[in-house]
């Protein structure tokens, strides 16, 4: 089962939940935790593992050949991403804007834009007993998260097809990176906080998941602050709230030290047990 942990709003507990859930589950069975927030991965702060693999990741971008180019302008016209600018006597390529669609390269009448690899980031894999932890990180200056997320997902699929439980720590927001990170998930957990900001962004995330036709549930973090609007909204929309993690100073203190919460905060562990119970039920449903 693939479980993506997402949120609309940032800072609501995606990483806290992902890391604790993954390590807790890995006490009993093999788990792959993947940090897909490639713009600033931080699950690794909570995982103590041994580095077992490291590779550079590349995307394909066009490279202009001035000697054969006739400056017909076709490449600029077909580029949907404004990655190509045509000046009086030259073509300029902006690799950060390129989506590697190959249109300019394939449609160039004189083959003056061959595609070449450009490094966009790095993937690292760590092992800690039954837990495999994978994280990818974009290089500074790279603007496109989606290609790296897609390649990271492929790496997990190709290397860990036999592991039943896969947890994906998704980027925040509701734009392309989130869609890429959640599109293969069997279950999406939307974690939010019970505040007006949390509710506003939760609604956007819910609409996104409905559009993607995803099975999703809600977890409320820092329950006790704010108001009841998130609960009322979920009830009205028939969205199950499976867990409410209490607002607690003990949790904040442990988190700020980079500690895993379920080991030291019993009320957090109790909520995690509820979530694991829910996942077990889903697994049994799928097996039947």
């Amino acid at each position: 089962m693939k479980i993506a942990i997402a949120s609309g709003k940032g800072g609501t507990g995606k990483t806290t939940l992902s890391t604790n859930l993954a390590v807790y589950l890995a006490e009993k069975e093999s788990v792959v935790l993947t940090d897909l927030d490639v713009e600033e991965p931080n699950s690794g702060l909570f995982i103590n593992g041994e580095l077992t693999h490291h590779e550079n990741k590349y995307k394909m971008v066009p490279q202009w050949k001035s000697d054969s180019c006739t400056l017909c302008g076709n490449c600029r016209e077909v580029c949907n991403f404004h990655a190509i600018v045509q000046l009086v006597d030259q073509i300029m390529v902006f690799p950060q804007l390129c989506h590697s669609c190959y249109a300019c390269s394939e449609l160039c009448p004189t083959d003056s834009l061959p595609m070449v690899p450009e490094k966009m980031g790095e993937l690292r894999e760590f092992q800690a007993d039954k837990l495999t932890f994978i994280e990818s990180k974009l290089d500074v200056g790279q603007e496109q998260a989606v290609p790296l997320i897609a390649q990271t997902l492929r790496y997990v699929d190709e290397n860990y097809s036999e592991v039943m439980l896969k947890i994906y720590d998704s980027p925040p927001g509701t734009s392309c990176p989130v869609i890429e990170a959640t599109k293969d998930a069997d279950l999406v957990i939307l974690i939010t906080e019970p505040t007006p900001f949390g509710l506003h962004d939760l609604k956007l995330a819910v609409e996104t998941m409905q559009e993607l036709k995803k099975r999703f549930v809600v977890i409320i973090n820092r329950y006790g602050i704010g108001n009841d609007d998130v609960v009322d909204y979920c009830d009205g929309e028939n969205i199950p709230i499976i867990v409410k993690i209490p607002n607690s100073k003990a949790i904040a203190e442990r988190y700020s030290r980079g500690e895993l919460l379920y080991l030291v905060v019993p009320e957090f562990r109790a909520e995690l047990d509820k979530l694991i119970g829910f996942i077990d039920t889903l697994n049994r449903e799928t097996e039947q």
Partner: protein, 112 residues
């Protein structure tokens, strides 16, 4: 000589648009013929990424001698503009087009 301003509107009294890539209009003043014209760039709002190079391409096609704007172009747009002989002046954010032109003539704007 052709001077292009990034502007919020199509009049001399329109405000300068401080943004380059996402400017609403180009206000074009041809000093030699004393004629003005404008280019509507508002469709740029639909562009999520790459506004800078796209607008720079549009500016380039106007073949201006001088660009007067507010904050100054970002990295991508600046890379394009550096390929042309366009003098860029910034710091006109709070002015109207007319005020910016006067400030430029008095040498009060900063060259980018």
């Amino acid at each position: 000589m052709k001077i292009v301003f990034t502007s919020k509107g199509t009049e001399w009294v329109s405000a300068i648009d401080p943004r380059f890539g996402r400017t609403d209009y180009f206000f074009v003043y041809n000093k030699d013929s004393d004629e003005i014209s404008t280019v509507d760039n508002r469709a740029i709002v639909e562009t999520a990424h790459g506004a800078g190079p796209q607008t720079a391409q549009k500016l380039f096609e106007l073949k201006p001698d001088v660009l007067i704007t507010g904050n100054g172009p970002g990295g991508n747009a600046a890379r394009v503009l550096a390929q042309g002989n366009i003098k860029i002046y910034v710091g006109a954010s709070e002015m109207t087009v007319k005020e910016a032109y006067e400030a430029y003539q008095k040498g009060e704007l900063k060259e980018f």
